[in-house]
Symmetry: C2
Amino acid sequence: MRDPDALPDALPDARPAAEIEIPELPADALPEIDAARLWDRHMAMAKIGARPVGGVHRLALDADDIAAHRQLADWALARGFSVALDPVGNMFLRREGADPGAAPVVSGSHCDSQPTGGRFDGIYGVLCALEAMETAEDRGIVTRRPLECVIWVNEEGSRFRPGCMGSEVYAGLLGLNAALAKVGDDGGILGDGVADLRAALPEAGARALGTPFHALLEAHIEQGPLLEAGGELIGVVDRVQGHRRLAISVIGREDHSGGAPLSLRKDAFVDAIEVCRGLADLCRDPSDVLRFTFGRFTVTPNAVSVVPGRVDMILDLRHPSQDELTRLGDLVAAEAAGFAKLCDVGVEDTSWHAPVRFSASVQAAYGRAADRRGYARRGIDSGGGHDARWFPGRWPTGMLFIPCEAGISHNPAENVDPAHAAAGAQVMADVMLELAMT
Amino acid sequence: MRDPDALPDALPDARPAAEIEIPELPADALPEIDAARLWDRHMAMAKIGARPVGGVHRLALDADDIAAHRQLADWALARGFSVALDPVGNMFLRREGADPGAAPVVSGSHCDSQPTGGRFDGIYGVLCALEAMETAEDRGIVTRRPLECVIWVNEEGSRFRPGCMGSEVYAGLLGLNAALAKVGDDGGILGDGVADLRAALPEAGARALGTPFHALLEAHIEQGPLLEAGGELIGVVDRVQGHRRLAISVIGREDHSGGAPLSLRKDAFVDAIEVCRGLADLCRDPSDVLRFTFGRFTVTPNAVSVVPGRVDMILDLRHPSQDELTRLGDLVAAEAAGFAKLCDVGVEDTSWHAPVRFSASVQAAYGRAADRRGYARRGIDSGGGHDARWFPGRWPTGMLFIPCEAGISHNPAENVDPAHAAAGAQVMADVMLELAMT
């Protein structure tokens, strides 16, 4: 059991699980998915929690998120698949294999969204996995291992923090009770949301946390521009970059904005700007690998006639190298105060996730499948955190990306080409079948 | 009738009303105020809407603001003074004169506060005026003109915008119905608040808007550091500096903070910082007269994992010269977009108040009174806007300041030396009596 926001001593680069052999199946054993069904389901899901400006608003375990779970379960039950919930609210849709005792091949992602989320983030990976299971069902293919579609609960962390919570609990890295007790921004309790979800799914059986997988796969939109720029349909994800967040506070003094001459102020905003610029210079990376964001920046009291007395901001640093995150983050903590001219500056690490590397054999299987289908592909690193990040140390794990329009995500304008969606789902279906045969 | 936020064509420097002669009274006709009573009343008022961290929270016409009005009316009624309300909720406490038909000598300020307001802003001017009336009452002094203490409604503009609203309506510069229809941040309507105030003051008579004053006086804490720095007890206010606000928006694109490489982002926060720094350079004033504040700065969506798509900020410019406000504000509008590297920038004037100059004869009377009492004094400009600003073109008007600790205001730490409070009240009482005798 580990504090999800523990500092790096607790988070060495994950040591990967033992590799597995993934036999290549002949082309005629690998059926084509139903691209129209896949797309229609995306459009149906986009109606649940749809926003007038576009995109969706489905915060973890709110009414729309539960409705999305219900819709997915209905599609699964209609095909004779079973539905199960684990104690933290992860949902598993299962197509039985010839050997029900064999560890399942599991693929999926999440169906919750950011407050101003798009129509593909998360749900794409869920619908790819379901499509693979339905394609097998359409053709009456008997796999040795069960095929499962997993819907991890609370990936976004928009309502209950931190994100990727359901998968973290399943992986044994966060305690169940700690998760169930989380209080959301709206005052709701995660455990109550899980009870609501269970009530909405009376058909669901029980799944024990940590029940082993043969392999864990996840398809996702890239949320970045590289595939589109390179013209590739498939990104085979090598690593999830590491991720370190620092909370920086700048403390000045509130004054009347008409009464106080500039020479006598201690304006927290003016110094905060200097801190931001200084840190940006410090973290400049000509190779454009480092990702550096001030996403949250809050001025107090934020009133037009008051000189700001305090600014709080979160610096979000992402890099594939743990060493670089250590060096840069430590530099920020050491140097930030020096950029302020008058105010006091505090810096605190709030979360730190080491980079992880995915299974080489799964990556190879994705690559082979893409090549067989004639889809251009490339290796890629993941900028965002994903549920799959918790599992490489336990079971063979791998992600694949498809392009999204202009790289835009966490945005109502998030968009995907239907042909790209189909290509990723096809590769996912091919590899799930290959994994399920042995 | 004028839009309160009208642009400068409608706001030439105010042409002052005709000067009046203010006869100097002999020292034995000018009684000493009761400094202990004055201070005790400040402490009593500070309990109404007191905050645990210090200071007060009395937003215009909320329950605490109405309780403050009620307390002031109780003190007045106990001395036989009358209470009246005008249609917008300005309250007048009146000590009758020998000639009830003569225009009254009016002094006062406001009792509402900023959300994190101090114990002296506004209420000091009210209690000075009441103390002058009680001092006259204590000594049985019969003045020719009535003495009045005015409590202007909604000076701060923290709940209903804009501020200085009650005085603006009284001065005929904002329509009554426009004011009564204002909707506050909490959804409350100003007219409903006025009805609540009237219900809490059944003894109150009616006062017609615009009923003439012989003169309007206002005492206030400086809200700046000059008097303290110079060791003066009294600031005789020459001008209220002009005040121009510009709303600046920086429009970029939301992206995933892990997925989007820096080279491909359109980060509204990064450009907003450049805009702020560029404008700060543009407005640099070695003479330290210009006041330049970004008090409100709002990032959208303000989420740790989303590259900011939009920043909205208010630039607050204050200067005693209308020409300088015109030059600088126009420069801001013309240059702001040039400081952004990638994002679109919009600039809009949101309010503009011309500088005003107070009555020379009232300033002279304050100066004489301070000199007679042996209080060090200086001429000073007002940084903040005050209710008195609307009246110099109608009736002789003048403000006086006392020091506040370290110049801090709009802050729970706002503080005043009791001896300074007494000095200002004494000068106010002396000048009110001088004005009321002819």
